[in-house]
Structure formats: structure tokens, C-alpha cells
């Protein structure tokens, strides 16, 4: 781009006269993009104020956010080491991840009484009723426990702080501890999902994967009444903390909602589309009426149908099916009738000319032309409904959506949420690929 070509005045005038539309453009052509961009920016600024974006973000619980996010891929053990009668007694909540009396490698009793809790490497807490020794980065800080408070020694690093009567210790990802005069509350974090396969009640708990596989294939029967494989499957599905059976059945409900809803919508929209198509039913009022029925069904939100039928039938897949059915009968009917109106009339004429009855004329004159389009559209809707059935479920129709919502409301089950999200992503990808493959077989590679 070193030299700019120059033109003389005559050539310039000639170009101006020949291509006026290039050189004299209207205001909108010149500035339209800039004006609309400015409008959009002003609108966004208005919404920024309207939705109180800054106060909302400032007031957000950002310290909790990192905990919630870590909960997706890791788990916390939360024992309380209580000081009772000069002894240290570990206490677990009902959600504890260890069975009674388990040997926990990172929390061992000390020879002289008390417990030592390891936070990875040399970092650890030595808990005795009178004193808690914090070992951090190779140094040791003794915390004296008096009758009403825990006292942090002077010169402690920033990872420890005195908060009123209690002392907080932060070990980073590994966890934290809250030392009070009556107890030490420990949060110890580990990567992965705790007890994903077997809960603490199961005889398989705490065994490694090869060990479980060995037991299932050729081990002594743990339960004399049945084989180890069926016991393992039963224990897995009825895992109390992960509820695999429940989650899988809820996922199945969501899939059934999408499948049955779309299928029924297809079956009903198919004949109705013939009524709505102008070139097939030769009555304008009937066409018009049918199309308005489609518009009406389509325009009432899926949410409204879902809530309405949840009120009538109670939560579960039936309201979901009904919601998808009603919305998509309208949407599919519209698409189908448009496809029918675009169909070629010559084939119908041909069939008609040999004296076929009206139904046969449609069967052999129209259906072969439009069937691939119909099926491909229904597959599209099926695919997209698999996704929307999750949301419909959350509104009250049941299925995995409701389960997700319940798990999120507790604010403690983010690992379960992550598990369900993974399942949903997996199912959506599988369905996308199945429906893509079916579609490309039906109407060739051209479709995306």
C-alpha cells in the first residue's frame, strides 16, 4: 500500500457522474450503523442503571462464590473436634463422609491424647484440650485455649487471624480451621467427589476400584443372599448421598417429556397442517381459522402451559408433556403447512387424473415430497425440546430440572449439580448427534 493511484479531474467527474449511488449516499446509509450503535449503547447504559448492576455486584457474596465453585469439583470433610472433659472428641454431622470409627488417614489420634489433623505436606494442627499447635510452612504457632477463648500468639502470619474469641486458620485449597474455646471446627477439602460410588453404609465403601471389580467377579459373597455384582449395583443406585437411581429416573422423565411431547405434537400437527394449507384445503375461512389456532397455541408460552398443567395434574412428566405438546403443535403446524404450501402441485394432479380418492391423492401426491422436511423439522424440535424440558421441569413439571433446582437451593450440593449438568450435557450431545445423523440421512448432507 505504498503508492496511492492518482486520477485527473476529468476522470474524477466521469466517475462521479457514472456511479452517483456510490458517492452520494443517503444519511442512513452513511451513518445508519453509527446511529444504531449509539442507540444500543445508550439503551445498555439505561439498563445498566435500571437493573442496578453495580450495587448488585458490590453486594454479591463473592467469598461464598469461590466456595460454591470449588464444591463443583471437590468435597469438604467437616468434623468438629469437641473438647469434652479434658479429651478431644471428633463429631461428624449427618452428612459426614466417613462411617463410625473409620481410620481417617489425615486425622489421627496422637499418642498423648488429642488429634493431629494434616493439611498436606508438613502443615498440620495438633489439637489437645489445652493447646492447639498450628504447623504452617515449617514453623509452629501455639494457640492457647482458655476457658472462654482461643488466643493467637503474637507474630502470626496473615493466614491466621484472631476473630473475637476464636482463631481462624487458612490453609488455602486444603481447608481451614476455626479454633474456639469449646471446639475446633475443621474444613478439609479434597479433589473429586466423595463417596460417588458407594456410601458409608455399603460393604464396598473405602475399597479401591480394582478391589471392587475383583469382588464382583470372583469374591466371597458379602451378602449370602445374592451375588456381589447385584449387591454392588444396588448399593451404587441407592447411594444415600448421591441418589443415583433418583437422578437417573428424573433424567429419564425429562427425556420422556421431550420425546412424547414432540411425538404427539407431530402426530396431531400432521393432519391439521393439511387443513391449514391453502393449496390442499380449498376454503379460505378454514385455512385462516386453522392458522390462527396454530398461532394461538404457539404464542401461549410453554411456561404458561407447564404451570397450568402442573396445577391440574401435579408435578411430574405429564405437565411437561402437555406443555411441549401444546406449544409445538402450534409451531410444527405452522412449519408443516408452510412446507405443504411450497409443495409441487404437479404430482397431486397426476395422481388425481387417474381417479384416486382425495386421501390417496395426498398420500401419493404430497406426502412423499414433504415427509423428509416434516421428519427433519420434528427432529429439530425434539433436539431443542430435550434442552427446554430441563427448564420446564424446574418450573414445576418435575424431571431433572426440579431436582437441579432443589439441589441448588440447599447451597451445599454443588457437586451433585455438577454431576447432573454433566449428565445433561452428555445426553444433549448424544441426542444432537443422533438427530443430526438421522437428518443428514433423510435430506442429504446439505442440512447443517
Amino acid at each position: 500500500m505504498s503508492s496511492v493511484p492518482t486520477i485527473n479531474a476529468a476522470e474524477r467527474d466521469r466517475l462521479l457522474a457514472t456511479y452517483p449511488q456510490v458517492f452520494h449516499r443517503s444519511f442512513m446509509q452513511r451513518w445508519g450503523l453509527a446511529v444504531s450503535a449509539a442507540v444500543v449503547v445508550v439503551y445498555l447504559a439505561f439498563c445498566f442503571a435500571f437493573f442496578n448492576v453495580i450495587p448488585t455486584f458490590v453486594n454479591g457474596n463473592w467469598d461464598r462464590a469461590s466456595i460454591y465453585l470449588q464444591d463443583w469439583y471437590s468435597w469438604r470433610a467437616q468434623p468438629r473436634l469437641r473438647f469434652q472433659n479434658g479429651e478431644v472428641v471428633p463429631q461428624w454431622t449427618s452428612r459426614g463422609q466417613y462411617p463410625q470409627g473409620a481410620n481417617i488417614p489425615w486425622m489421627q489420634p496422637m499418642p498423648g491424647g488429642g488429634y493431629t489433623v494434616s493439611f498436606g505436606g508438613s502443615d498440620r494442627l495438633d489439637v489437645t484440650p489445652a493447646r492447639v499447635d498450628i504447623h504452617l510452612d515449617g514453623r509452629s504457632y501455639p494457640v492457647e485455649i482458655t476457658s472462654d477463648q482461643a488466643v493467637l500468639p503474637p507474630g502470626a502470619p496473615a493466614a491466621m487471624e484472631q476473630d473475637g474469641n476464636k482463631v481462624m486458620v487458612y490453609f488455602g485449597f486444603e481447608g481451614q480451621a476455626e479454633i474456639r474455646s469449646s471446639q475446633v471446627y475443621i474444613q478439609r477439602r479434597f479433589l473429586g467427589w466423595a463417596n460417588f460410588f458407594f456410601d458409608t453404609q455399603s460393604p464396598f465403601w473405602g475399597r479401591s476400584l480394582p478391589e471392587v471389580a475383583g469382588l464382583m467377579l470372583s469374591g466371597e459373597r458379602l451378602d449370602p443372599n445374592r451375588s456381589n455384582a447385584s449387591l454392588a449395583l444396588d448399593n451404587f443406585l441407592n447411594n444415600a448421598s448421591w441418589q443415583h437411581a433418583d437422578i437417573l429416573s428424573k433424567l429419564m422423565q425429562t427425556l420422556v417429556m421431550a420425546f412424547v411431547g414432540t411425538l404427539f405434537a407431530t402426530l396431531i400437527a400432521f393432519p391439521l397442517a393439511f387443513v391449514a394449507a391453502r393449496n390442499i384445503t380449498r376454503s379460505r375461512p378454514v385455512n385462516w381459522g386453522m392458522k390462527r389456532v396454530f398461532d394461538f397455541l404457539r404464542s401461549i408460552d410453554m411456561l404458561i402451559w407447564a404451570l397450568f398443567f402442573t396445577r391440574a395434574f401435579g408435578p411430574g412428566p405429564i405437565p411437561g408433556i402437555a406443555a411441549i405438546f401444546f406449544t409445538d403443535t402450534g409451531a410444527l403446524g405452522k412449519v408443516y403447512s408452510e412446507a405443504l404450501e411450497n409443495a409441487d402441485d404437479k404430482q397431486r394432479e397426476g395422481v388425481k387424473s387417474v381417479g384416486a380418492s382425495p386421501v390417496i391423492v395426498q398420500r401419493y401426491g404430497t406426502v412423499p415430497q414433504v415427509l423428509p422436511v416434516f421428519v427433519s423439522q420434528s427432529l429439530y424440535f425434539w433436539e431443542s425440546n430435550t434442552r427446554s424440558a430441563t427448564v420446564i421441569g424446574a418450573v414445576g413439571a418435575g424431571g431433572i430440572g426440579l431436582k437441579l433446582l432443589e439441589s441448588m437451593k440447599t447451597n451445599a450440593d454443588w457437586d451433585k449439580v455438577a454431576y447432573m449438568v454433566l449428565l445433561i450435557l452428555l445426553v444433549v450431545f448424544v441426542f444432537d448427534n443422533v438427530s443430526n445423523a438421522l437428518r443428514s440421512r433423510l435430506i442429504g448432507r446439505k442440512s447443517h
Partner: protein
Amino acid sequence: MAHVAGADHPSGLTGSSRTILDHYQSQVRTRRIYTLVSIAVFLIVLGASLDFANSANSGKFFERLPYLFDFMKSFVPDSPLEIFRAMFDLPSPYADGSIKYDYTSDRIWITDSFYIPNFFYQLAITINIAIVSTILGASGAFVLCFFAASNLVGSRAVRWFVRRIMEIMRAFPEIVIAGLLAAILSIGPISAIIAVWIHTVGALGKLFFEVVENADMKPDEGLRAAGASWVERVRFAILPQVLPNFVSYTLLRTEINVRASTIIGAVGGGGIGEVFSLSIGRDHAAKTYAIIILLLITVICVDQFSAWLRRRLIGHQSFEFGRGAA
């Protein structure tokens, strides 16, 4: 295959014609068997699904069906005018102190004497959620789509990466994003905006890059010959071709997002969806019908407006296929 030489054939054909007819008929038979088998499998799957759905539902279909009509009968407002009063926050003659007939206390006062009816205000929130998330989502998709198009980016790794990001954004359940943000930012429209926004980036990004891949590459070649940089080529060769389709898809997405933000609202994002799920759950017939009518009008208006604008932009062209990526 089923042809038996010399057998008397009812069609009266002979020789090779008979062979052809026999082959044709055997093919038709095979096809019919396949069709029947697949219909049978289909019906079995459907029956099993229906049975499963019915047993999983808390109310059974046939037991509850009579009550559906009872519910509808009891769900009639006291007078048709009640719907109108609920819509515009006018005092009700049936007022008995319960919130069912309390329409006036929800008024949103702008000045001392001028108020916006609550449902209109909530509707405005929902529509604004939809528009903001569509604008932000379309911008995100616009930036990403060029990196996913095989005719603009040579590196397979970049394309693969960008496309997978879009897929995950598209398939990630919106309610999870909304729920997580609601736990952090407290319940409100912002979590709904971000949830819908992320989904929109994925859905529009896919449609956008397919448009870019179908663009005519001749202008690009011309610019490349003149020594234009990558950005200049995208700006002057690709963008003018694809912009009308981009705008059209974005408008279509706005329609979808109005519905999506209503639903997310019902889950806890604020707006008309939340109000609606409360009023139907409490059996407030008049309020519920008022919201249904408002939503119906809104959806029809948005659909018509965007259809009109799209037709002006790119002529009559069915974009219903785009719904698949929704």
C-alpha cells in the same frame, strides 16, 4: 429371489418382465416388513414412555382428568372486568383484604400522581432482560463466529476450540447458571440476563459461523490480492455479505429470548414469570388471566415486529430452521 421359473403368473407377463415385477414386489414386501417392525418398536417405546410418565407423575392422568375441568371451573374470575382491573391495578369491588383482590398496592409510582401497573412494570423487566441478553449475546457470538469458520481460520485447533466452547455454552442448562448466580448475587434480573446471555452466545454463534462459511469468497480473494490484512478482509469482504443474516438471526433470537427470560423469571429471575408462577400457584384467577393476556399480546407483537423487520432485511425466507439451535 422369490422367482420360480415356469410358474403361472397372474399378471400375464412373461420372461424378463415377470422377473422385474417379482423383484419389485419382493422389495416392496421387504420394505413393508421394515416399516411394520419400526412402527411396532416405536409403539412399544411410546407405550413404555407413557406408562413411565404416568407412574412417575404425582397425579395419575386418568384419575386427575375429571379434576382438570373442576380446576378450570373454579379458575374463573368473578367478573370479566376483574381481569381488566388486575391488569391496570384498579381497585376491585370484591376486595376483602386478601391479596387475591388486592390490585392497588402493587402500583409502581413514578410521580406522586402517576403510576405504572405492576404487571406492565414486570413485563418491561422481562422484555429488557431479553433485549439486553440478546444484544450482549449477539456481540459475543459476532466476535467468536469468525474464529469458528473454516474459510477464515486455517488452524484446526482454534476452530475446534471455539466450536466446543459454543457447544458447551449452548447446552449448559440455563437454570444452573441462573441458580448459581442467584446464590452469589441474590435473586434478581442480573442472574437471568447472564444465563440467557451465555446461552445466546452459543446458539447464535453456531448459526453465525454457518452463515460465514457459506459466504462468497471472491471479494475476500480480491482484498487479499490487494494486500489487505485479516481484519480488513473480514470487515470489507465478509461482513457486508453476512450482516443481513446476522441481524435476522438476532431478531429471531430476540423472540426466543423473550420466552426464555419469562421462564427463567419463574425459576427466580424476577419479572413477569415470577409474578405469574406466584399468582397461578395461589389460585388468583383474575391476576393469572391478566398476565396470560399480557404475555400473549407481547409474544404476538414481538413475533410480528421481528418477522416484519426480517422480511424487510432479507426478503421472504423461512428461518424456522434456526429454531433447531434454540
